[in-house]
């Protein structure tokens, strides 16, 4: 028997209206700052090889897992402020906060580093929140979180020291970094004000620039609000040789695990040396709607889930 669940569409009306208003506000925010809205192909021949991100095959090509590579080719060609709102596809990702097809906002700035993107996040999310009638405070699942800037900034090393049972270095050494981060650290992040978790171990930032003062650290941050991971940002790696080495390492890792190995994104690597120092960020739009609509499950902020099709 196929269940008639059309009532679920009816009870989502409020969240879907809010979502539409938020997307309108996001577009206006970037247009007002002279960012150019871009559309890049969803179907590409070579997704970025990353250890833990699986692409969905589409014929001999793949659905993109993020528009990152094409966006950076535009940066390299001289487009200095660009943004995109698009669907991304990641195989096997399904949970209360994951959909295998989800909506991503990405923006890139030439001549900036990840600190500028932190300022962008503060301005963007405050603008969107105001647009839907929230004034400096958001309530999510019974918690009140203040949105007024500046937000908290804590390094990965300090966050592990404060919240986890072992240090970040120890977690890496024992291959428990992701587990400790997800289970012990993340639940504490952004519970009173939003927090930027920054400066990741270099092996956790495949496309990020290494910090000049510390070659073990990548200039990457993640934004958390109410324990929800909302955005991932880098000062972009523009050393094509280093980028190729990291892609090859990720491909070897994928092969070891028995995951599909993707073709090397040669055109991206070719363009990379022309890219000026830049910074880029990907923000999960569905998660932002979850936050501002006070919904605990991603299912509640989209019209359809894969299970309802």
């Amino acid at each position: 028997m196929i269940e008639d669940d059309s009532w679920k569409l009816t009870v989502r009306t409020d969240a879907l209206r809010l979502r539409a208003r938020m997307i309108r506000a996001i577009r206006r925010f970037f247009q007002d700052q002279d960012f150019l809205e871009i559309e890049t192909p969803l179907r590409i021949p070579a997704p970025a090889p990353e250890s833990h991100i699986d692409a969905v095959a589409a014929g001999a090509w793949f659905l993109h897992t993020s528009p990152e590579l094409c966006m950076k080719r535009l940066l390299a060609a001289g487009y200095s402020r660009i943004f995109q709102i698009c669907k991304c596809f990641r195989a096997g990702e399904r949970g209360d906060r994951h959909l295998p097809e989800f909506t991503m906002l990405e923006w890139y700035r030439a001549g900036a580093d990840y600190r500028t993107l932190m300022d962008d996040c503060e301005a963007l999310i405050n603008t969107v929140a105001r647009e839907i009638g929230l004034d400096g405070v958001v309530s999510w699942q019974g918690r009140r979180i203040g949105l007024n800037a500046p937000w908290e900034r804590i390094s990965v090393r300090d966050a592990f020291a404060r919240y986890a049972t072992i240090s970040a270095a120890e977690a890496l050494r024992t291959d428990r970094f992701d587990e400790v981060l997800a289970c012990e650290v993340e639940p504490h992040l952004g519970m009173e004000i939003p927090v930027f978790l920054y400066d990741y171990p270099v092996e956790q930032g495949a496309l990020a620039r290494v910090k000049e003062a510390d070659p073990g650290i990548a200039e990457r941050f993640e934004l958390y609000i109410a324990g929800l991971e909302l955005a991932n940002a880098f000062s972009e790696l523009i050393d094509a040789g280093e980028q190729r080495r990291r892609f090859e390492e990720a491909s070897r890792d994928r092969q070891r695990k028995g995951s599909a190995v993707y073709p090397m994104p040669e055109r991206f690597l070719q363009a990379l040396p022309r890219m000026s120092p830049s910074a880029g960020i990907a923000l999960g739009v569905d998660r932002l709607v979850m936050l501002l609509a006070d919904k605990s499950r991603i299912d509640d902020v989209v019209a359809f889930t894969p299970e309802s099709l």
Partner: protein, 187 residues
């Protein structure tokens, strides 16, 4: 054999010769990190619970359990009595063994009784049951697009959220696995 991506609430797996059921499940994946499958597992024999986080490379054996079709008769002193319709043999299950299914135990309903080496462990009900709404607030007409559900009570005493147009005395269909409202049943 199961892999971690098969894990979901209700899956039964074997760990060190005991059958376990996944009672809570969440998929988590920090940033660009690896997928983690956080489970709460319950030992189906002794009820002991523990939490464990699995990774995509983990594999599991299925728990080899028998199921027998039986009819629910009555509840007495916290025990639920079921009868095998072929042998007329009666068995008793504790409240723990019946679990969430107690919300949906209509008189004479047929259930699958789960057995591990002839000992009853739990029950599973038909996926869908039709029940009468015994208590509901009236519907404010024209409120169909308000984005809200409302709570009602059904004949088994179970409470759940339904669309606002459902009225007292109506029959509704419930998914016994999720406990969620599915649809209104006519007649």
């Amino acid at each position: 054999m199961y892999t971690a991506s098969d894990l979901r609430k209700g899956l039964r797996i074997k760990i060190e010769n005991d059958p376990y059921i996944v009672t809570e499940f969440n998929f988590v994946k920090p940033g660009k990190g690896q997928a983690l499958y956080r489970c709460k597992l319950k030992n189906m024999v002794n009820g002991n619970q523990f939490e464990r986080t699995f990774r995509s490379v983990d594999v599991f054996e299925a728990a080899d359990l028998q199921e027998k079709r039986m009819q629910y008769l009555y509840k007495e002193e916290g025990k639920f009595c079921f009868m095998d319709n072929e042998s007329y043999e009666q068995i008793f299950l504790s409240e723990d063994q019946v679990g969430e299914a107690k919300n949906f135990l209509l008189d004479n309903i047929e259930a699958e009784i789960l057995l591990f080496e002839d000992r009853p462990l739990g029950i599973s009900l038909p996926n869908f049951i039709d029940v009468i709404v015994t208590k509901a607030d009236p519907w404010a007409k024209g409120d169909s697009v308000s984005g809200n559900t409302k709570p009602v009570t059904v004949q088994t005493g179970y409470q759940l959220q339904v669309p606002p147009f459902i009225e007292e005395g109506e029959k509704i269909r419930i998914d016994t696995r999720s406990g969620e409202y599915l649809t209104r049943v006519k007649g």
